[in-house]
């Protein structure tokens, strides 16, 4: 964290400016309201035991039922082992790839980085179906081909397994790590690495002993975000784990919520574990970062010379390309292929290929409206989120505001609520808070919901980049006569831009893909593409659902390309 004493005279946010203090207090109150209201309602209702229509009764039975339900301990163990396994693998690979893309002379960096962004964009259901097509133990195409070679007696791959679930998740998990770490790695002054090389350290030694410790805030944030999301994941587990009795925490919560009537008390009780894990991780993060300084961008000049890999340049490129192809290209090809098939995965039926899926999806009268709503909600959530999250992050990192630690902690809390429960919590919040009633049912309520959902990610990513920026940059601007707003606009904002763009883009993607929140808050008029996709999937029209999924992916890729053109590749010029 920044040393408060360095902000004493130059900081615009020191205590003598009462109106700044008022604004920061209002910001704290707003965040507290948006975050604590849904969480509080969920906790409160977890003690409400009565059946629908019956007089209200409170008690602990829901909590008791949650933790003594059969299979819950095994589900908990499965959840943690799956999450930790894939996070460790993805972290090691993600750090290495981010370093290669941001700090070395590996060729085709931009294209490779885009591949990894794409892997994060792919929707889970069609991606999983694609991997089933390849790796089903009995009928997977890859298994059949390998068995056909005559070298093996048993199919080597089984997608319906622990490692099958890890594999399918890896693409998105590595993707998000590369997305988040690469901008942070770019903000590293190369002179630090050069100094390490001068004293005899190798490239890998420099990575391990210089780069990674300096990148710790970003790495920790990425790890925590990844771990929490892994703990809450359930779509892939539902498809691959349930048939073989491999349950995870979230499939248990999902089951409880789909009971008739929904069992919110035990579901909420189970999700309290996420809150405990989140609190522990955040505490660890704050303890580790503590009073250390992670400034890598100062006013003393900045070097961007890449590390030369020499003879390892092309082998490294091949390795990254292989990972990109495996985690991105293959599922994308399968996804697109599925849109042209009468029955996904069935190549031996008469006339397996068709344009009908596209024809019917594109001629659906709600398509244009859904597309417009998706863009509007995504843009709104992205832009509002960026402004809101950057304000929060700035106050947490750069101010002396007494409530900044609470603000930081509150910004994590939306991720303590699993996605399948957050939709209900937000529904309760918006219906029971009169201020929201005038906009209930409109796309604006969906924008607010998406902003709340993506708050942890947005705040923490911007925060990790702000920690890299030395205070001398702002001080220099002050000395030259720049006010706070001028300094923010001309000095801080350009340095934050890559992170802001990533946050806006991820906000856009979340809004485009979200189902659990939209289904409870959306109306016929505010229908999104994700709801249209759900419509097709629920009606067993999987192929048409993949057409909508491809449209969502194209939309998101277009947004990514536009943001990259606008400045996603902006890095600090030496």
């Amino acid at each position: 964290m920044a040393h408060p004493e360095t902000l004493d005279r130059s900081s615009p946010l020191s205590a003598r400016f009462d109106w700044h203090l008022l604004l920061m207090s209002l910001l704290l109150l707003l965040v507290a309201f948006l975050v604590l209201t849904p969480l509080g309602l969920l906790v409160f209702n977890s003690f409400q035991l009565s059946r629908p229509g019956a007089p209200i009764v409170y008690g602990l039975e829901g909590w008791r039922k949650a933790f003594v339900s059969p299979g819950i301990l095994q589900a908990m163990m499965n959840t943690f082992t799956l999450a930790i396994t894939r996070q460790i693998i993805a972290l090691v690979i993600g750090i290495f790839i981010a370093w290669l893309l941001a700090r070395t002379d590996i060729p085709m960096k931009g294209t490779l980085e885009l591949f990894f962004w794409l892997s994060f964009f792919l929707p889970a259901l069609p991606e999983t179906m694609g991997w089933i097509l390849l790796l089903d133990p009995k009928y997977g195409l890859l298994n059949q081909w390998l068995l056909g070679l005559g070298l093996l007696k048993e199919p080597p791959f089984n997608i319906y397994s622990f490692w099958g679930i890890v594999w399918v998740h890896l693409g998105g998990t590595i993707g998000i790590k590369v997305m988040l770490l690469t901008p942070a790695f770019r903000n590293l002054d190369a002179s630090l690495e050069e100094s390490s090389r001068i004293v005899g350290s190798s490239a890998i030694g420099t990575l391990v002993r210089i780069v990674i410790p300096l990148m710790m805030p970003a790495i920790l944030v990425t790890t925590i975000l990844g771990l929490i999301r892994s703990l809450e994941a359930f779509e892939i587990e539902l498809l691959l784990g349930v048939p073989v009795g491999l349950h995870v925490y979230s499939t248990k919560i999902h089951e409880l919520v789909t009971w008739e009537p929904p069992q919110f008390p035990p579901a909420m009780a189970l999700s309290s574990i996420f809150l405990l894990v989140l609190l522990s991780l955040v505490a660890l993060q704050r303890f580790y970062i503590g009073k250390k300084i992670y400034t890598t961008v100062t006013g003393r000049g900045f070097s961007v010379r890449p590390t030369h890999l020499g003879r390892w340049r092309y082998p490294a490129f091949a390795a990254v390309l292989l990972i990109a192809v495996g985690t991105t290209l293959i599922p994308t090809v399968l996804l697109v292929m599925g849109t042209f098939m009468k029955l996904f995965g069935f190549f031996n039926i008469p006339d397996p290929w068709t344009l009908d899926n596209w024809r019917q999806a594109l001629s659906d009268p709600v398509l244009l409206r859904s597309l417009w709503n998706t863009i509007a909600i995504g843009l709104g959530a992205g832009i509002v989120g960026v402004i809101f999250f950057s304000l929060i992050a700035y106050v947490v990192v750069k101010s002396r505001f007494a409530g900044r630690a609470i603000l930081d902690f509150l910004s994590w809390l939306p991720w303590s609520i699993p996605g399948i429960l957050l939709g209900v919590a937000l529904l309760w919040t918006f219906l029971q808070t009169k201020i929201f009633i005038p906009i209930y049912g409109t796309i604006y309520i969906l924008m607010i919901a998406m902003v709340i959902k993506s708050m942890p990610f947005g705040v923490q990513l911007i925060k990790s980049v702000l920690l890299q920026l030395g205070n001398d940059l702002e001080e220099a601007s002050r000395i030259c006569g720049g006010g706070w707003f001028y300094t923010y606009r001309r000095v801080i904002f350009p340095l934050l831009l890559p992170a802001l763009i990533t946050v806006a883009l991820v906000g856009f993607i979340s809004a485009a893909r979200d189902i659990s929140t939209v289904v409870l808050l959306g109306t016929g008029k505010s229908r999104t593409l994700s709801l249209m996709m759900l419509d097709f999937a629920a009606g067993a029209e999987f192929e048409k659902a993949t057409v909508v999924a491809v449209i969502i992916v194209v939309l998101v890729v277009a947004a990514a390309l536009i943001t990259r053109c606008l400045g996603g590749q902006i890095s600090i010029r030496g």
């Binding site: 629908p52 009928y139 349930v242 009971w259 209900v424 009633i437 049912g441 109306t523 067993a540």
Partner: protein, 376 residues
Amino acid sequence: MAEKGIIKKILPFFLLAVLGSETDPALGQATKPAWQTEWNRVLEAGKKEGRVVAAIPPSPELRKGLEETFTKRFGIVLESVPARGGAVIRRIVEESKAGVRYFDLHIGGTESIVKGLLPENVLEPVEPWLILPEVREAKNWWGGHIWIDNAKHFIYGFSAYQTASLWYNSDLVKAEEVRSFDDLLDARWKGKIGLSDPRTPGSGASIWAYMMLIKGEEYLKRLAGQKLFLARDLRLLAENLAKGRVSIALGIGYSESLPFIKAALPLSAFPTPKEGLYTTGGYGHLTIIKNAPHPNAGKVFVNWLLGKEAQEIFSKAMGAPTRRLDVDTKWSKEFGVLAAKDGLTLEQFYRMENQSEERIYKVRDPAALLARKLFD
């Protein structure tokens, strides 16, 4: 001369009749039945309201069919919200409690309605909304008017059928190998039976509850011992059956099997087992939300929904044959769906159903509890 005399005698009466009908509106309108007057009033008021909001089952074909046809016919916008029962029911209840009026009516399966909407006192009786004789008169419906709730006011069932819930891969199994539910306990089917997860509401829960009704708990325990392949995604279950990963599947239905049947894949429905199969209305149940924001437009929609045109759309889109006697439903047999009016007696329908309020609490609930005990 005599003719002139007759005309003179008749003319006053003639004039009286014409003038009387011109000057007294009641006389002029007496030829119109009361329902017509009410319908005209409702239609005009509905057009002023401009739209009706209905929660419907998730089906793009249904959504398109209903929205386009209704709006074209009446000039009133149908804003449909497709969603699975549980999610939308929760929303309807919470909105009602908060005084937010958005939904006019809900069409869906009975379990979520009976357990989610009925006890919360958010429903209005359906009958006052039925205006047109073709809809209101019981003689137009097989079995008359069928109500799901015990009070027989709030949940109207407009579909009734028996769906083939036992399917097999005809490359691996012969139809005659399973003639009874008892045959499923044969050791050769161990690890080869797929089941739509009965722990969550849906067709899997329906077949599971029916088996509990006719065969009892012990049977289900033995069936669970067959290492069943449980799937929550019905499309995936149908796919696994088509690929031969499982040889028999319980709980898939019309929507899931249709694409595979059309692609000439070896999916077939077993003939009805000797114990019979459960009867149901599927998603074909109508409820009216209390204090509907567009009551007149809603009435127009309800009367159209329960009429011939909309019932044809619904039956075809959902594979849920209607009870309307003037709608052809024989086509559904090809896809393993037997319309109740094409092959069952009313007694058979009631005996084999597990979707009414009573059966939900007495049969489905205990069956779901047992499923959780066995599979958790």
